[in-house]
């Protein structure tokens, strides 16, 4: 017979009079205020009288058409909504298409076609690769193996974690990498013996992971969506294509230089209090043993992804492979994952539409600015600031502008506004378009100042090891370091590698 006793902790609760607390529904004032700020900015620009034309140095007139002005209005609306997350970022993406169609900025077929542009489908394919790696556990295996290799010295643990994070971003989106590394870093930190109290080692480990995820993500087109988006604009505006290999070829030295410089940076600013974490190696071995041998799915996933990367890279060397579209090749991996049973319908349903629609909207926004002539008009107006400046100053200013923007709004949005405009300005100053795109992509990938700049920043912040103020404070020297690396790349590294830097001015 069951025995029952009453709760001692029911502290003065009258059992007959317990109500059900009403759900607290607070009005989100911030959301509504900035929603209307966005709409207000759009209205002011959209309904304003025609704006004056811009004239280039040769006296050629660039008229801002009503559609061009409306495109600028739409960018202000989308930018405001993105910065303050008035709506889920993907819904703001949809809004970009809807406004273009309803306000006759571009025909609906053009505005919405961009939503399934090959670049967007490429992003979809790369997100699926991230999902596969997460599901089969191959990335975890790499990360755990790293612990065994680096041993117990904290300086080496920094380096090992940074290198593995950067390596993984070559194959999958940096957000997925951060989400994979985060639990591992938490576990390493648990062994550090300070509980969850913030320490220099904790700050360095988590902030470093976020910074390095950005640095690594610039190296291949799989590391982040911004790369393929920028190349999409490049192809539309310049009429040439930058291949998968070409991007990696130029970004590899810059990205890895940044990874190792960041390691030095964190060793200086956040030198770990303890030199070693005793017992870590033994546990790492146990962890690796628990993983067991490579599974069939791990092998298949690895072969498929490496096969796709090899094919995309070979396009630069084998002329017969060049006609094949990047997105179509990448999506072959998606199809194979399902054919071989590595993924199922539930995995397809789990695709993050919020993210896909964000990129789709950014793509549509960028093409809208370009096709309506708004990007050209803006560019010619900005040209005045740089007319007498050295081309290097222009490239660095543009890179710095992207660096600031990428901290405030999604980096694809920063790319969507800055790349089309910069590509128009570039020929007037004798700058090759490649250097513009690559410099913009380097800084777009590394928002070191604000947590909202990139998902890895927010993931690292979950550790409660650092405040947003600390992140900003240490982000300043890190951003200065980044600008120095961009300068070095533009002046020295890229020219040595054969990238065209300057072209004859018109």
């Amino acid at each position: 017979m069951a025995e029952e006793r009453s709760s001692q902790g029911a502290a003065a609760v009258d059992d007959d009079k317990v109500g059900l607390a009403a759900e607290i529904k607070e009005i989100n004032w911030k959301k509504w205020i900035f929603m209307f700020v966005g709409i207000g900015l759009f209205s002011v620009v959209y309904f304003s009288p025609p704006w004056p034309s811009a004239f280039d140095p040769m006296g050629k007139e660039f008229v801002l058409s009503p559609q061009g002005k409306a495109a600028l209005a739409l960018f202000l609306l989308a930018g405001t909504w993105w910065v303050f997350e008035v709506l889920p970022i993907g819904v703001t993406g949809i809004t970009i298409g809807v406004v273009q169609a309803l306000f006759f900025i571009r025909p609906a077929s053009d505005a919405f076609k961009d939503f399934m542009d090959p670049s967007v489908l490429f992003i979809f394919g790369s997100l699926v690769i991230g999902a596969v790696f997460t599901k089969v556990g191959i990335t975890k295996r790499l990360a755990y193996k790293m612990l065994d290799i680096v041993g117990e010295r904290t300086s080496m643990i920094y380096l090992g974690c940074f290198v593995v994070t950067a390596l993984l971003t070559h194959l999958m989106a940096h957000t997925a990498v951060a989400a994979t590394m985060y639990p591992l870093l938490l576990s390493i930190y648990a062994l550090y013996g300070e509980g969850d109290r913030p320490t220099k080692f904790g700050k360095g480990l988590f902030m470093g992971m976020a910074f390095v995820a950005g640095a690594g993500s610039i190296i291949t087109l799989l590391g982040a969506a911004r790369g393929i988006v920028a190349l999409g604009f490049f192809q539309e505006i310049v009429g040439r294509e930058i291949s998968f290999f070409e991007l990696t070829f130029y970004m590899f030295p810059v990205g890895w230089l940044m990874v190792f410089l960041l390691w030095g940076f964190f060793m200086i600013f956040f030198k770990p209090e303890k030199a070693v974490i005793p017992g870590l190696r033994e546990k790492a071995r146990e962890l690796n043993a628990a993983m067991g041998p490579l599974t069939r799915h791990e092998k298949l996933a690895g072969i498929i992804v490496l096969g796709v990367i090899a094919f995309l890279s070979l396009q630069s060397f084998v002329p017969a492979l060049q006609p094949f579209n990047k997105a179509a090749i990448l999506l072959v991996s998606t199809i194979l994952f399902f054919v071989l049973g590595i993924l199922d319908i539930n995995d397809l349903e789990a695709v993050p539409w919020n993210i896909i629609l964000l990129f789709a909207g950014a793509m549509s926004m960028g093409f809208c600015l370009w096709q309506t002539g708004a990007a050209e008009w803006l560019a010619i107006n900005w040209l005045g600031f740089f007319q007498d400046a050295h081309w290097f100053v222009f490239v660095m200013a543009m890179a710095f502008f992207v660096l600031l923007m990428t901290n405030f709004i999604m980096n694809v949005a920063a790319i969507a506004i800055s790349v089309p405009v910069s590509l128009v300005v570039a020929p007037y100053l004798g700058v090759a378009p490649e250097v513009i795109v690559f410099a913009a992509l380097v800084t777009a990938g590394m928002p070191f100042l604000l947590l909202v700049g990139a998902a890895p920043n927010a993931i690292a912040y979950n550790s409660k090891q650092f405040t947003s103020g600390e992140f900003f404070a240490y982000g300043i020297p890190a951003s200065i370091l980044l600008m120095a690396v961009v300068g070095l790349a533009v002046i020295l590294i890229w020219p040595l590698m054969g990238m065209p830097i300057t072209v004859p001015t018109p």
């Binding site: 069951a2 025995e3 029952e4 006793r5 009453s6 709760s7 001692q8 902790g9 029911a10 502290a11 003065a12 609760v13 009258d14 059992d15 007959d16 009079k17 317990v18 109500g19 059900l20 607390a21 009403a22 997100l127 991230g130 999902a131 997460t134 599901k135 975890k140 755990y144 989106a173 957000t175 997925a176 989400a179 994979t180 985060y182 639990p183 591992l184 938490l186 576990s187 390493i188 648990a190 062994l191 013996g193 509980g195 969850d196 870590l280 546990k283 146990e286 962890l287 628990a290 993983m291 995995d347 789990a350 695709v351 993050p352 993210i355 998902a455 927010a458 993931i459 979950n462």
Partner: protein, 179 residues
Amino acid sequence: MTAESEGKEHFLVKGLLIPMKRFPHIDEDLNLHEAVRALQEYTCGEYERMRYSEMLVVDAKQQLVGRVNLQSILKGLDPNLGQVIDGFEGKRGEFPNLAILWGDSFFETCNRRFGNNVKDFMVPLPPPVKEQESAFKALSIMLTHNETVLPVLAEDGSYVVGVIRLEEIFNAIVKRCDT
């Protein structure tokens, strides 16, 4: 016919519910140590095993504001357990093997958190049912939301009369199907 037997006959919630006074419910100002003690007060069987695996939490205005269960308490004791990361683009990973690394530090961490307020470990309530409603509705909600306990409201919805558990519904169904 009493309300309880009528409820049993028609398979209504009121025939199967556990009244508030017999189900653990605690003040929101308690700390976890006191809350766990209160939960352990409810025992059953020869080994004095825990009778319930969750408790309701009531605020100073006598309003039901949430609940704590074994999972929410254990998750709250160490953030490494069942880490959920917001903003991850895509599939959520699972990391059970990492227990090898943080297993040792768990007891150190949990000691410190045991004094925290019970609100730190609270999770939202599942959808409530009314006492005159069919127990099948309660069962449907449980199976859909993967829940085992639902709050039960009086017919006019003005106050909470108790809870209905999956165990009682299960026993009632088995009793009828097995005749």
